[in-house]
């Protein structure tokens, strides 16, 4: 048997052995590369949800931490009792306050999403239509707010909407109103805050969809006698639909659970579930109740989250298919 492993022509078994060793070495690295991020996300993203679910089933207690254990062990480490408490969930159903909070959050988020779409669409369309450095400039103008503090941008609206703020001063100076309007600490301010904050999240996916729009299709529609409104409704909008869905989901989901915006801009009667969760946790110190609120919120949001996963996968598949067809060509 040849022992010269470096030789170009090694006999079959040795070569296979070298290959096997090589493969094994790759697999270790591969495993580590795959394992490290997976493990991190498992521990710090996935398992926490299980913990939240577990604690949502326990009872509030005056203790540190403030909940009663579900599993009770005696001194010999044998399980003596399991106390599962569905009371928190029952309470969520019974007390109209929570149901109202969920409904009001979904309503506020849905309506804001719609307004964001109406404001964002022309912006995305204009960017997609422009060329060269103008496009780069407009696109950077949309992206730039991503990089500035979200908290401070919400805060900026406090200065604008308050009693003697910019809006009221302007309206008074124009003589449109006699005395300042109450704008801050209203639902109106919350809508403004959400639309303002999440506008870039709407514009970017819309732009991505509109950018791919084939101009010749619109020309064809015009040649066939379609009026601008018709070709917009029948050609542009259907083709932009993936972008519309992605943008709406990206705005809707975080808006439902929003805390900062209703806390700074909303009134005491602005009911949003993110704020309810915050108060349960920080004011009432009712951790099990806060957990139950979070679990139900997750259930409400599962559908839109699945939607975005689905559309992003489809896009990835399309891209892969596209590359493949390029290769074939």
């Amino acid at each position: 048997m040849s022992t010269s492993t470096g030789a170009a022509w090694v006999s079959g078994p040795t070569r296979r052995f070298a290959l096997l060793r090589h493969l094994r070495r790759i697999n270790w690295g591969r495993l580590a590369v795959m394992g490290v991020p997976t493990l991190w996300l498992a521990v710090f993203f996935f398992i926490p949800f299980l913990v939240v679910f577990k604690i949502s089933l326990s009872e509030t207690a005056i203790a540190v931490p403030p909940y009663a254990p579900i599993f009770e062990w005696d001194l010999d480490q044998t399980l003596v009792a399991i106390r599962v408490n569905f009371g928190n969930y029952l309470y969520l159903l019974e007390d109209a306050f929570y149901l109202d909070a969920y409904l009001s959050s979904v309503k506020i988020a849905a309506l804001s999403t719609l307004i964001t779409l109406v404001i964002g669409f022309p912006m995305a369309y204009l960017i997609a239509k422009s060329r060269g450095s103008r496009r780069t400039l407009l696109l950077s103008l949309v992206i730039l707010p991503f990089w500035t503090s979200f908290l401070l941008r919400v805060y900026a609206w406090m200065g604008i909407l308050q009693k003697h703020g910019v809006v009221n001063d302007l309206l008074l100076a124009l003589g449109l109103i006699d005395q300042p309007l109450i704008l801050l600490q209203t639902d109106f301010a919350v809508y403004v805050g959400i639309v303002y904050t999440y506008l870039p999240f709407m514009v970017l996916p819309l732009y991505t969809a509109l950018e791919k729009l084939d101009g010749t299709l619109l020309e064809a529609a015009a040649d066939l006698g379609a009026r601008p409104t018709q070709s917009f409704l029948l050609v542009t909008l259907p083709l932009a639909l993936p972008g519309v869905v992605a943008g709406c989901v990206l705005v809707f989901i975080p808006a439902v659970g929003e805390f900062v915006i209703p806390a700074l801009l909303g009134g005491s009667d602005t009911l949003m579930i993110g704020r309810v969760l915050w108060d349960e946790f920080f004011l009432n110190r009712d951790w099990p109740m806060a957990s139950a609120v979070a679990i139900v919120m997750l259930v409400v949001l599962v559908l839109p989250i699945m939607l975005i996963r689905h559309s992003s996968e489809k896009r990835a598949d399309q891209r892969a298919g596209h590359q493949h067809s390029d290769e074939v060509a």
């Binding site: 795959m34 022309p122 503090s149 993110g274 969760l277």
Partner: protein, 270 residues
């Protein structure tokens, strides 16, 4: 046709105005001399001066910068790995799960992420005695986790748009997986990694909700201090602080865009 294009420019223009008017008003009012935030009392830098002498804000800013620096760095390492695994390692058993775990944090409401991480830390402390109490360490872990997702998405989209032939050529020439990654792939995705780091840094610096849940007493981050100051009303010092932060970001972004375009031009020539 002409009329519809003018309509488009007008509506889109109003959209951009809506996006920037609040930021502009914030900047202008930060130079207002009057203590009554809304009454204009002439131009002045006095709030910037007071800001420099506010120890609470300075300390919180230092805590936040430290957390943001460490979290962004960890997030870039883990996020690049995740993005690489999802695009370059073919199909494997946990791929669907991993891809779900890297996209879900992007849209997860912050109150849920914050609460769930806090409960995890408390449970871990009860079971293993780690982490002992909460403070900057737990905030760093929390920020790394959600920033990781952003980095993964950025790196992933860069890798997908990247021409794979360079990597294939390196493989054909006998590069080991590790040298393939460090000598070929990494330089190619460097711009994505840089923007991932910067985005993570800003996201960490900005986070209020998650930090409020997982940080301990005496470890207030800058957004926590700002929030407690503005909760009851507008504060001229915060206006000054906001202006400084926004201008820093704006200058940074302009430099970054300029650098990137120059780099691209160089690449195109080469």
């Amino acid at each position: 046709m002409q009329r519809s294009s003018r309509f488009l420019t007008l509506t889109a223009g109003l959209g951009f105005l809506f996006l920037y008017a609040p930021i502009l008003s914030l900047i202008i009012y930060s130079f207002n001399q009057s203590k009554l935030v809304t009454v204009w009392g002439g131009w002045s830098l006095q709030w910037y001066g007071e800001l420099l002498h506010n120890d609470q804000i300075i300390d919180a800013a230092l805590v936040s910068l430290k957390i943001a620096f460490i979290s962004a760095t960890l997030a870039v390492i883990l996020g690049t790995l995740a993005g690489f695994v999802l695009t370059r390692m073919g199909r494997f058993r946990f791929k669907m799960i991993l891809s779900g775990w890297t996209t879900a944090p992007l849209v997860m409401p912050e109150v849920i992420t914050g609460l769930s991480l806090l409960l995890l830390f408390v449970a871990l402390e009860g079971a293993f005695g780690w982490p002992a109490g909460r403070g900057t360490g737990t905030v760093i872990i929390a920020h790394t986790t959600f920033c990781l997702a952003y980095v993964a998405v950025i790196v992933q989209s860069r890798l997908v748009s990247l021409d794979e032939t360079l990597e294939e050529a390196a493989m054909d020439l006998g590069a080991k997986p590790s040298s393939l990654f460090f000598l070929v792939t990494l330089p190619l995705i460097a711009p994505a990694i840089v923007s991932g780091w910067l985005l993570s840094f800003t996201l960490s610096l900005d986070d209020l909700v998650i930090a409020s849940f997982v940080s301990g007493p005496g470890n207030s981050t800058l957004p926590m201090v700002i929030f407690s100051k503005v909760r009851l009303g507008v504060s001229p010092e915060v206006n000054a602080l906001a202006t400084l932060m926004i201008l820093t970001v704006a200058i940074g972004v302009v430099i970054a865009v300029w650098q990137m375009r120059r780099q691209e031009r160089v690449n195109r020539v080469v």
